[in-house]
């Protein structure tokens, strides 16, 4: 079994919160504005609520089988072969999620920062960083996220506070968007944005005790829910929903609009640090989960030999989509709308199965 070190709840909260939040920095708010109009900010809260319910089943599973991570639980409940299939599905989902997210990141970077650079170089530097971080290990990734969480949260709040001059309350209405039913439906579907709490189940051996897992999971959902909702509220206040659907990355435009006199203007490159570092952490933790699931599935003792092929696969999948629009409206959309199956539905079914067939934990 791979050795993953131990860390405490604060680091886990920072890790999961940053990886959930870094999804709103890129093209998601634009997609949300297209789907639900002005109701994005409370759609996120509905998503967080559904995610909390989904995480409850994961938490029950982890409580029932103490000190085991989710892969071992799948193997216990489903037996060896179906367990491998389901774990493999989860792992591949993480890999595809990571690749599509990195493609979206690279495309947004190309739009706003490095237009002429070939996409491969952006991705290769990204892969280099991920390689370094995965070699260093999970404990260091968690510590890094704790360390950078101060700057990331400060960056987010500063952007929101400084753009107060651009808020216009009239952009918030109509309040219900395209209809309450539409909002609730999409909110429930997009709860996979908060699905990163599932990673806590994959690395459950590193968190000491079920109380820490509970605390980490719920706190990260609450904190990221509040922050995401405030961010989406800020976007809708600054851009009416008709304009917001045309902007590739609303967070960037929000920071580009800050203009206080002669000196404090055009300060958006400063926030690049915040977004890029948080998306490094996001994609690293996804790739790490994939490698961790893979190693735990086949009970490898060390993850370093798996690392390099996984990164190559990750790069190759990231280069499959043709252009930005396919990525944003096709891939990201489907992952967000259908990810709940992997994150919440399968643990739910597992829990029901384990209750029905009364599978006990191994001695």
């Amino acid at each position: 079994m791979i050795s993953e070190g131990k860390f405490g709840p604060q680091e886990a909260i920072c890790l999961i919160t940053i990886s959930i939040l870094s999804k709103i920095f890129f093209t998601s708010p634009r997609q949300v504005a297209e789907i639900v109009g002005t109701a994005g900010w409370y759609m996120t809260l509905i998503s967080a609520f559904i995610a909390a319910i989904g995480f409850t089943f994961v938490f029950f599973l982890l409580k029932k089988y103490k000190n085991k991570n989710i892969i071992e639980i799948y193997e216990i409940v489903y037996g060896k072969y179906i367990g491998i299939i389901i774990s493999g599905l989860t792992g591949i989902f993480f890999l595809v999620n990571a690749s599509v997210n990195v493609r979206e990141f690279g495309d947004v970077l190309k739009v706003y920062m490095l237009p002429i650079t070939p996409l491969e170089y952006i991705l290769i530097i990204f892969a280099g960083v991920i390689l370094t971080l995965c070699i260093i290990g999970l404990e260091s990734i968690a510590r890094l996220s704790k360390l950078s969480s101060y700057f990331i949260f400060a960056g987010i709040i500063i952007v929101l506070l400084l753009s107060v001059q651009n808020y216009d309350i009239n952009h918030l209405f109509p309040l219900l968007g395209y209809g309450l039913g539409n909002t609730v439906l999409h909110g429930a579907a997009r709860s996979s944005v908060y699905g990163d709490v599932f990673i806590l189940a994959v690395i459950a051996n590193s968190l000491q005790g079920i109380n820490h897992i509970k605390k980490s999971g719920y706190f990260s959902i609450i904190i990221s829910g509040i922050l995401a909702s405030v961010n989406l509220l800020a976007f809708i206040l600054a851009f009416p929903y008709s304009t917001a659907q045309e902007i590739t990355s609303p967070m960037y435009e929000l920071s580009a609009l800050i203009d206080y006199g002669r000196f404090i203007q055009r300060i958006d490159p400063i926030f690049f640090f915040v977004w890029i570092v948080s998306s490094f952490i996001l994609i690293t933790i996804y790739i790490y989960s994939f490698i961790s699931i893979y190693c735990k599935m086949f009970k490898y003792p060390d993850l370093k030999p798996v690392l390099f092929p996984a990164i190559i696969m990750f790069l190759v999948i990231a280069l499959i989509p043709e252009d930005v629009s396919t990525v944003v409206t096709g891939y990201i959309q489907s992952i967000r709308e259908y990810g709940w199956i992997i994150f919440y539905f399968i643990p739910f079914i597992t829990f029901i199965t384990s209750l029905i067939f009364k599978k006990e934990a191994d001695a």
Binding site: L114, V129, T132, L133, E139, R143, F272, I276
Partner: protein
């Protein structure tokens, strides 16, 4: 004139080749051994003086080394004996007055049986403070090499080792690398005894334990380990001792080389052991529950375990009021930030993110770059390398020029370069601020690490702008987060969260620091009463 011609003749005409050849250093072969006969190795002293003498002569190679003195004499005109000591390492007054004179006194030795001569001499005759008796040659030789004197007496199977250390050493001076305005101005020296005394003067506690371990196979130097019994975690002490004792290396002198042998990840850039030249900072480390080690040969002490925030604290923060300490810490953090990231950010801004620079500044930069032939990246590298060269050269220039040559020289050089239109003026400011920032770092090793990391930032900043710099930050922070120094992660009060004394960046008034920092897992956490200022306590009680 004739000399001139003869010189030319010697140079240009044919000469029979003389027998002298060039010296060539060939491989060692058995023919070049030392010519002395190998005397049988002995480990214990024998009773016969002649055998001891012969063995001592052989062991010290006195045929070749001429500074080992062997003084044969008679004790009380009756017993033959000899002294062995190294000429300049002993205190001559002690040898002459306290050893030779009383031993040569005939009256004291009137009726002593020869079996008890050693006992009699150590108890009654020798008027020296430190005496021990040995019968093993290894330890005798080692102690003589440390500056002790060995007394061998005929028909005795023990030799007396007399403490006579008295070599020349440097006086206690101001510490070179860490000077402080308001605080003690004494620094360590190269001699281990002086350094131990300096620390003992500050911590006058019987719980301060000093253990001396031998280090270095060929140079037999000694290393002293300090710790506070009752505060320091015993497993830390054992681990430190285990690592130091297990070193098998020829030459270790000074705690710098020792550090390299015992630190966890020698391949990484950042230091994992904090070094200091000041006794008061060492005392603060000791009372925090750390283990301090100091070696003969260099005036630096090392403390383990350490974390990043220890490397950016300076003892001045404790000697001043806490507000000033906090302010200084902010300035130092700014200095560290500037010395590492500033050139990279400058490159990224100028090459990639033109829109962030204010318009007027951008125009003036554009105008000043009109005449410069190099691209910005090459310009910056040239100035950085020139600055590093000047810094290194300034160490070797003697006297007053050396200190002036540092930054002032670099600035003047930069000014001349600007006037010659090789570089643009704003680059000089960036490079100068970078250099000044690196001087502001309190820990010398950390400053060096940052100087090297700076080039990594420059390359990535020029390649990819802010994206490259973020990638570099993540890689370097990630590597730093994975570093462990004797079991403690490098960013300890922040990254694994411990109940820290909130003294990391914002300082605190001294009366609030009533608990020890927890990350060294000390035995005893409470270091003062809840309100250490007794005058405040009493007044409140009186009020009620």
């Amino acid at each position: 004139m004739s000399k001139f011609f003869s010189a030319i003749k010697n140079l240009l005409t044919y000469k029979e080749s003389l027998e002298e050849q060039q010296f060539e250093l060939l491989e060692y072969s058995e023919n070049n051994e030392k010519g002395v006969e190998r005397v049988a190795e002995q480990s214990y002293i024998s009773l016969k003086l002649n055998e001891n003498l012969a063995y001592i002569n052989h062991r010290f190679n006195t045929i070749k080394s001429q500074d080992i003195i062997i003084r044969e004499f008679k004790i009380g005109e009756k017993y033959t004996a000899f002294l062995v000591f190294i000429d300049e390492m002993v205190d001559k007054l002690t040898v002459n007055n306290s050893i030779l004179r009383p031993l040569m006194n005939t009256e004291a030795f009137q009726n002593i049986p020869s079996k008890e001569i050693v006992e009699y001499i150590s108890n009654n005759v020798l008027s020296v403070g430190k005496i021990s008796r040995e019968n093993k040659y290894d330890s005798i030789v080692k102690q003589v090499l440390n500056g002790m004197t060995a007394l061998f007496i005929d028909n005795c199977n023990e030799a007396i080792l007399i403490g006579t250390k008295g070599f020349e050493k440097r006086n206690i001076e101001k510490p070179l690398t860490e000077s402080v305005i308001r605080g003690a101005q004494e620094g360590f020296t190269e001699d281990l005894g002086t350094n131990i005394a300096l620390i003992r003067r500050i911590i006058r506690n019987e719980d301060l334990i000093v253990e001396i371990l031998p280090v270095g196979k060929a140079n037999n130097s000694s290393c002293a380990i300090f710790y506070m019994d009752g505060i320091t975690n015993p497993s830390l002490i054992n681990e430190a001792k285990r690592r130091i004792e297990s070193i098998d290396f020829d030459y270790i002198s000074g705690s710098g080389m020792l550090e390299e042998m015992i630190n966890d990840q020698p391949l990484l850039l950042f230091p994992q052991i904090s070094t200091t030249e000041r006794p008061d900072k060492s005392a603060i480390y000791l009372l925090d529950g750390k283990v301090l080690f100091i070696m003969d040969g260099a005036p630096f002490a090392g403390a383990v375990p350490t974390n990043f925030f220890d490397l950016i604290h300076s003892p001045e923060d404790y000697f001043l009021r806490w507000q000033f300490g906090t302010f200084l810490r902010f300035i130092r953090m700014l200095g560290i930030f500037a010395s590492s990231i500033l050139p990279g950010i400058y490159l990224a801004l100028i090459l990639f993110h033109h829109d962030m620079v204010p318009t007027d500044l951008l125009f003036s930069i554009a105008q000043s770059r009109e005449n410069v032939p190099f691209p910005t990246f090459i310009e910056l590298l040239l100035m950085e390398i020139a600055f590093e060269l000047i810094r290194e050269a300034g160490l070797r220039v003697p006297g007053a020029i050396g200190t002036t040559l540092g930054i002032i020289g670099a600035l003047i050089l930069g000014q001349a370069a600007v006037a010659a239109s090789i570089v643009s003026p704003i680059l000089i400011i960036v490079v100068a601020v970078t250099g000044i920032g690196s001087f502001a770092t309190p820990s010398y090793t950390l400053a060096f690490a940052i100087r090297i990391a700076r080039f990594f930032f420059i390359v990535l900043g020029a390649a990819m702008g802010f994206y490259g710099i973020s990638a570099a930050i993540v890689i370097i922070l990630g590597i730093m987060c994975s570093m462990k120094s004797f079991g403690i992660p490098f960013f300890t009060p922040v990254a694994p969260k411990t109940n820290m004394r909130p003294d990391v960046i914002i300082g605190q008034p001294l009366y609030k620091q009533t608990e020890r920092i927890e990350f060294t897992n000390p035995v005893d956490l409470k270091s003062a009463a809840a309100e250490p200022r007794g005058w405040k306590r009493r007044r409140q009680k009186d009020d009620k």
